[in-house]
Amino acid sequence: MHDSKEGPRLVPAVEQKFKRHLDSLAKIFEFIDLFAAQENIDDDTKRAFDLAVDELFTNTVRYHPSNPNDVSIELRIENQTMFLRLTDFDVDPFDLTKKPDPDLTGSLKDRTPGGLGIYLGKKVVDDVQYHYLDRTSTITLKKKFQKKNV
């Protein structure tokens, strides 16, 4: 599908760095809100990215609390698909794509609070890719979206 007679509109990627603290979540949501509004991305897709990046960012805050580096988040669009790339510098490898799904079939007694974050993050987007090089971890989320009516 083309956005104009000239072909698909090229949307430059936008990137922002965030302090490694849970208080940054509000700023991350604002960053995604602004991008989604500018690109008329549907609410379901925006909410999916909110949830997925919340889980990933929270994970990196919890597991690398003393790392002084900011966390980078880049947003871009290609072929009616939204991409979010989270880059975390000077960290140990953790390939979330290989983490087994939790068993959610048990009764309340059998279930434990926690362990849902990565699972939820993976389930609400179409694809998750993990890359690790030179102590830099890169997680890329992608999801097809619908344009909101304008």
Binding site: D23, S107, L108
Partner: protein, 94 residues
């Protein structure tokens, strides 16, 4: 902006975005509950796994005493998150 309060009827009322940054604030309120309690999600726009964890821990604690949380006015997209997390198996959702 997230808010949580217990109203005059004893119901917990949630609003805003229930993310990891708000989990401690929410836990402090849920920890006060000792009997079966309704939780109104009407003005809640978002919940992450941190919020789900607080709800589940409270449900387990109340369940041990024969009580529970009842969730009401849960929006479509939060229901979807509950479904993925299989919270529909462990919560009564009105």
């Amino acid at each position: 902006m997230f808010d949580i309060r217990i109203d005059e009827s004893g119901e917990v009322v949630l609003s805003g975005r229930f993310d990891a940054a708000q989990a401690e604030k929410a836990k402090a309120v849920f920890d006060q509950l000792a009997v079966t309690t309704s939780v109104d999600f009407k003005d809640l726009v978002y919940v992450s796994s941190a919020g789900l964890g607080v709800l589940m821990a409270t449900q387990k604690r109340l369940s041990d005493r024969g009580h529970k949380l009842r969730l009401k006015n849960v929006s479509g997209h939060i229901r979807e998150v509950f479904k993925i997390a299989r919270f529909d198996l462990i919560f009564e959702i009105e």
